[in-house]
């Protein structure tokens, strides 16, 4: 906390940041107690886009909940699909076709890149730079076109099914993916020259918004936020699910704990995702894209199950309680951004308003995922 903020007496005022504010990317409201431009206290207020996804799960069959998963984190919808599908598969003991696993990895990582690209654009937009957003969208558009050609949808894919995927991928998709990776490889230096190495950007991010490893553990922060604070934890590497254990990739970890570290983690993750996709495309086995004879009506045996996957924002955990019927008894979702946002109140104390907003942007908030 700065000396300025400590010395305040009663000269504070309350500033309502949101629910409609350009920097909150949705309907998040942050109640700020301000002393001039210094944040004395920040309290995120949630619930403006709560849609009862967990309760909806209890009223639908296991398969019918699938479309819901993509609507929580609409930027990395496939990871949420993946998390739910894997959880049910593990609970019901459904085997997954090998080709389907590779298809899942390819599409999932493409989706991760698109999520990070959008975050990159939106983050620079938060800091007042407009053009990088449009450049990132230009690249992201290629991913959306690719995913649309296999899944039929551009945002809420709902592509994975118990035992496989909904549709097979074709050579056109694979060629498009390879071409896109080459294109993005060529574009990455441009992003770094335009944004990362820019002196204004460096001044705004380096040393700003420190989030210590201890704070991450306290609030349960995961994903790039934790990795930017020196916590080497990525479920794809440390609790491998699907076929991630077969790929050679690194988990970028930065120990600076500032906004720049979180920024760099995500930029490096784009590179790593490209590596994973390249390997997966090379290794893609032939075979069915769906385990044959998976019953349409899934009934996991009675019990309590937990499964977690790594999304673009952190660990997405899903706890299923099954009573043996065709609907879940309880479906608890642990969304990564909820925990990541929780540390905002403590981390932003004593910061200037623009720095606090840079910190908030670096947490990569997706509000529908927080509220569910």
């Amino acid at each position: 906390m700065s000396a300025f903020a400590q010395s305040q007496t009663n000269e504070t005022f309350v500033l309502n940041l949101g629910p409609q504010h350009p920097a909150t990317h949705g309907v998040l409201r942050v109640k700020l107690v301000m002393d001039g431009e210094y944040v004395v206290e920040a309290e995120p207020v949630l619930g403006y886009i709560h849609r009862m996804h967990e309760k909806m799960g209890e009223n639908r069959t296991w398969a019918q909940f699938l479309p819901n998963t993509g609507r929580m984190d609409y930027l990395h919808a496939l990871a949420f699909n993946h998390g739910y599908v894997t959880a049910v598969e593990r609970a019901a003991g459904i085997e997954v076709a090998e080709r389907a696993e590779y298809i899942r990895v390819i599409t999932n990582e493409l989706n991760r890149i698109s999520s990070h690209l959008l975050w990159f654009g939106a983050f620079v937009l938060d800091l007042g730079g407009f053009s990088p957003l449009l450049y990132a969208f230009d690249d992201r558009e290629h991913i959306l076109d690719l995913l649309e050609s296999v899944t039929g949808s551009r945002l809420t894919y709902c592509y994975y099914r118990f035992g496989g995927v909904y549709n097979d991928i074709d050579d056109g998709f694979l060629a498009g993916t390879t071409a896109f990776i080459k294109r993005l490889r060529d574009r990455m230096p441009m992003y770094h020259n335009l944004v990362t190495k820019n002196i204004i950007m460096m001044k705004r991010l380096e040393g700003i918004g420190p989030v210590s490893a201890e704070m991450c553990r306290k609030y349960g922060a995961t994903g790039p936020v934790a990795r930017g604070s020196g916590i080497d934890f990525d479920l794809r590497k440390h609790e491998p699910y699907s076929v991630y254990s077969e790929f050679d990739f690194e988990v970028p970890v930065y120990t600076e704990c500032d906004s720049m570290a979180r920024y760099m983690v995500r930029m490096d993750e784009i590179e790593q995702s490209m590596r994973i996709i390249e390997q997966a495309v090379a290794k893609l086995p032939d075979g069915p894209f769906m385990t044959p004879k998976v019953s349409k009506i899934v009934k996991p045996p009675k019990g309590d199950y937990y499964n977690a996957v790594e999304t673009a924002r952190g660990s997405f955990g899903i706890r299923l309680v099954s009573d043996g019927t065709n609907t879940p008894y309880r479906l608890k979702l642990r969304s990564p951004t909820f925990s990541n946002l929780s540390l905002f109140g403590e981390a932003s104390r004593g910061m200037l308003l623009p720095d606090a907003l840079a910190l908030m942007g670096s947490l990569d908030l997706v509000i529908p995922e927080i509220d569910r």
Binding site: F13, P22, A23, E37, S131, L134, Y135, N198, I200, R204
Partner: protein, 330 residues
Amino acid sequence: MSLDPEVVRVLAFLVGVIAFAALNAAYLVWLERKEAGHIQRRIGPKEVGPFGLLQPLADGAKLMTKQLIVPDGVDPVLFKIAPIMVMVPAIMSFVTIPFSDTLVARNIDIGLLVIFAFASVNVLGLLLGAWGSRNKYAIISAARVVSQNVAYEIPMLVTVVTLVMITGTMNLHEIVMSQQGGFWNWNILRLNASPLMPISFLIFFVCMLAETNRAPFDMAEAESELIAGAFTEYPGMGFGVFFMGEYANIVIGACLATILFLGGWQCPFGLYPGVHWFLIKIYAIIFTVIWIRWTFPRTTFYSLLNLSWKILIPISFFNLILTSAMLKVF
């Protein structure tokens, strides 16, 4: 009864200056949107008229038909007077600007001083508007505007003082005349007066960006932080007038940079000097200003002050001392 020719002259220039300022404000918005579009690899306005050239008219019609809401609890006098206080000084500054050898409304000996005097009033307008509109975001913005302008007027004026020492006059017409002959005679390249003149121009340019609240120094508006800063509560044409004032200020800044550093209406090769060279130069500067806006992220408030107090002011003072020493020696 015949009119006094002086009255006719004054009226003609009054109409001319207002028309120039207003047209510029309208079409700079078009230029900005078009340039931003192409930088971002899209087209920008194109539906209204050819190349979207009638877009400013459509924008104007939209702004003018909007209801002028005066929110509850604002200071009605300050709220209404503020846009005018931004617009009027901007137009007044045009009075002393020489567009060419003969095209100037009033050639006064302290023209430079007049422009800086009016430029300071502009800040007052923003401050009053922000204070009067009873909005927390606007008040944060007001505090930023004032300290930003105080911080940036110093290096700007020190740079200008350097120039005045070199040219020996505050008359804008004479400043331009002293740069006759070719681009090597322009103040930006007068290395015999001070080897730091190009850096001096950069400092002036940066200060001009900060003075006109342009990105990356648009602390006052900062839409991702303060929504619209000082203009948050302004509806319709209230906002429109602010907006026009901002653009008029950019034109003034570009004119000043042209006159002081780039030889005004002088041709780079000494041929055919005239108003066309002046216009080419100011629009090139405005193009750069817009180009900068669509390239960089916004600075923060303290790095803006750091830049001013720790870098721009020491360098401009050093340049001042160096120039005076060199003037004395050579």
